[in-house]
């Protein structure tokens, strides 16, 4: 194709439509469709549904910084845990509503993220070094929490059970209440909407540009450091909400549940499987991974005869996570949603 003469351009050729409104509409529709879900599912599956949403929120948060922002985080447990511990501490020690606790947790996580991010970016950590630094900070929080009297050391916190079972103000309901699902759904919608608005915004576009080519971005006037820090703050805040909710739902938190490396992995996996740097990837990945634990648990409880030696054992679900992870990275590096989206575009 030669560009030897200036091609004539059709005056006023229409600009392509940006997909934001489509995404927002899809989020709305999905939310509405899912509202009746907890009323239809039996209790056990209802718990799985909540777990799927927790995975989704964590991964949506991770995706903002690591997918759209290109800063691969291996320590997102730090933000999850800060969200969890902040709301737990405020509730148990000061009887403050978990809603407020969640909001404060978001701020705490965002501040922590900005500080760590600033140090890492200022010292020009990239790639593996950056990932290891994020891991190190999460581990340090875990170790510190395990031995600190401020937060009850390794025992963690039990959320005190309310005498009259149900309270919106204290985010506590009877076991299996659909309210938990609806709150988690609300947080998921919140995360998705933030993702869309982020991508649509100046700072979001600047961050994606900086991810694609940092030097070129700087040379067109993008304040790269500032954008990266905002991205990290958003990412941390969203993931923190998952932490606060987790504490309220399971009524317990301890350093391993909050800051353990498996938490960081749970933030990464859904996005990788569904599609990193896509809006829907983390959700799809969560839908795939969430029920997996349950399916394998059922399988191991009552295995078919040829697998009877597996009876009563644990660990199969994570083995499948690992295998799935390897397969996806090797075969479908753009994730399930990413691959589908490419197929669709090529039609």
């Amino acid at each position: 194709m030669s560009v030897t003469e200036l091609p004539s351009t059709a005056a006023g050729r229409a600009l392509p439509v940006e997909p934001w409104n489509r995404h927002l509409l899809a989020i709305g529709v999905l939310a509405v469709v899912l509202i009746p879900l907890p009323l239809l599912l039996p209790a056990a599956q209802g718990a799985v549904a909540v777990r799927v949403l927790i995975f989704a929120i964590m991964s949506i948060g991770w995706n903002i910084m690591s997918g759209f922002g290109g800063m691969f985080s291996f320590g997102h447990a730090a933000y999850f845990g800060l969200g969890a511990y902040t709301s737990a501490w405020l509730l148990v020690e000061h009887n403050i509503s978990p809603w407020i606790g969640m909001a404060v947790g978001m701020v705490v996580a965002a501040v922590f993220g900005v500080v760590v991010g600033f140090l890492a970016l200022r010292y020009r950590l990239k790639g593996a070094y950056f990932a290891l630094a994020t891991f190190a900070f999460a581990e340090m929080l875990r170790l510190y929490a395990s031995s600190s009297n401020l937060v009850n050391r390794a025992s963690g916190y039990h959320v005190p059970l309310l005498p009259d079972d149900t309270s919106w103000w204290f985010m506590q309901f009877e076991a299996g209440s659909p309210n938990y699902f609806w709150i988690a759904l609300g947080l998921t919608v919140f995360g998705l909407v933030v993702s869309v608005l982020f991508l649509r915004s100046r700072v979001g576009r600047f961050s994606v540009a900086a991810r694609d080519d940092e030097e070129a971005a700087a040379s067109i006037g993008i304040p790269v450091m500032r954008c990266k820090l905002v991205t990290i703050a958003l990412s941390a805040a969203i993931t923190a909400t998952a932490g606060s909710f987790f504490t309220q739902y399971y009524l317990f938190i301890d350093p391993d549940l909050a800051f353990g490396s498996s938490v960081s992995i749970q933030a990464i996996l859904p996005a990788v499987i569904g599609g990193v740097a896509t809006i829907w990837g983390p959700v799809i990945g969560a839908v795939v991974l969430g029920p997996l634990s349950d399916v394998t648990a059922t399988l191991l409880r009552e295995p078919p005869t040829f697998l009877s030696f597996l009876q009563g054992r644990v660990g199969l679900d994570i083995i499948l996570y690992g295998i799935l992870l390897i397969l996806i990275v090797l075969l479908l590096p753009k994730g399930v949603y990413g691959a589908l989206r490419d197929r669709w575009a090529r039609r």
């Binding site: 691969f72 291996f74 140090l119 890492a120 010292y123 950590l125 990239k126 790639g127 593996a128 070094y129 990932a131 290891l132 630094a133 891991f135 190190a136 900070f137 581990e139 340090m140 170790l143 510190y144 395990s146 031995s147 490396s261 992995i265 990464i268 990788v272 990193v276 597996l310 054992r313 644990v314 660990g315 199969l316 994570i318 083995i319 996570y321 690992g322 295998i323 799935l324 992870l325 390897i326 990275v329 090797l330 590096p333």
Partner: protein, 338 residues
């Protein structure tokens, strides 16, 4: 991925000259002396804090002894990184496999734990070779994230396969005839001493292999410049697989040597894993000698850390050092600034 330039104390990148007498890169005195000074300061502080020379000596001894094993493990990891550019998150999991293999050999065959080396090292070598050829070769040259995630996946599979098929019951291996021995005013178990000596011997062996054999030369050539190495006829893919196998064999050796010293559970390797990463960064990624030195330093850090920060986990001091290294000198002790 961008990272501070790796350095090995070997010849410049022309693989054709790899066999010729080589000029060694000068020892970076400033960072080395600073580190020595810091270590001495830490020991002094620990002495002040604990008020007892015996306690400090004990800590130093323990730190150095375990540091040898850390160093051996980290050597394998840094070798893998230096040649394949892979951050191998499954390194600790391979150590765990070796632990369990050692346990099984001792338990069911009555083998002396150190004789198990004769089985675990070749076994892990083969496993590493297979893993690289089978799974990782598909990810060579892809972005860092991909390799990280694949090795993470491998780690998850190994750890949980062990959990599922062997169970979570803690197991242990005992060294027959183990006893405390007086060393320079402190006491060490024979198992500790043997592990340390064994690690140094194997580390020395690895070093000799890298410097004096054809394979080692080829490995160093690929590490320096894989395209150039290919152009002088080195089968780079085979070197990748062999290097990964060698690195995994180090993990296997470290696993067998450390078996009498730890409880054997599916998760035992993951702690060693993260320590290995810290050491590799500290010793400069790709630098085999640096890994050994780094291992000793981290071993000391752990032990002195229990004295300097008594109420905290020993790993916390390691992480503090890690973070400081990442920020202040990410190229490690022996690397140059990017």
């Amino acid at each position: 991925m961008s990272h501070p330039s790796e350095t090995r104390q070997t010849s410049p990148s022309d693989p054709a000259q790899a066999g010729a007498p080589r000029t060694r890169r000068p020892v970076p005195w400033l960072p080395v002396l600073t580190t020595v000074a810091l270590v001495v300061a830490a020991v002094a502080l620990a002495f002040v804090r604990s008020g007892s020379g015996a306690v400090v000596t004990q800590a130093v001894l323990a730190g150095v002894l375990i540091g040898g094993i850390y160093g051996l493990l980290a050597m394998g990891l840094t070798l893998i990184f230096g040649v394949l550019d892979i951050v191998n998150f499954a390194h600790g999991a391979f150590l765990t496999v070796a632990l369990f293999l050692t346990f099984w050999l001792v338990q069911s065959l009555g083998l002396h734990p150190y004789l198990a080396l004769g089985v675990t090292v070749p076994a892990m070598f083969l496993i590493g070779f297979g893993v690289q050829r089978g799974v990782l070769s598909g990810a060579m040259g892809k972005p860092l994230q991909n390799q990280l995630l694949i090795t993470l996946g491998i780690a998850l599979v190994i750890e949980n396969a062990l959990l599922m098929f062997v169970g979570a019951n803690p197991r242990s291996v005992a060294l027959p005839g183990d006893q405390g021995v007086q060393v320079l005013g402190a006491v060490a178990e024979l198992s500790n001493l043997f592990a340390f000596v064994g690690s140094l011997l194997l580390a020395g062996g690895l070093f000799l292999l890298l410097q004096r054999t054809r394979l080692g030369t080829a490995i160093r050539a690929v590490a320096a410049n894989d395209v150039g190495a290919q152009m002088v006829g080195i089968d780079v893919r085979r070197i990748y697989a062999l290097t990964f196998a060698l690195g995994t064999a180090c993990a296997g050796a470290a696993g067998t040597l450390v078996a009498p010293l730890v409880t054997i559970e599916p998760t035992t390797g993951s702690l060693f894993n993260i320590l290995a990463f810290v050491i590799v960064v500290l010793g400069s990624m790709g630098n085999v000698v640096g890994a050994l030195v780094g291992g000793l330093i981290i071993g000391l850090t752990e032990q002195l850390g229990t004295l300097l920060l008594p109420s905290q986990s020993p790993q916390l001091s390691v992480f503090i050092v890690f973070v400081l290294v990442l920020f202040l000198r990410p190229q490690g002790l022996f690397g140059r600034s990017a």
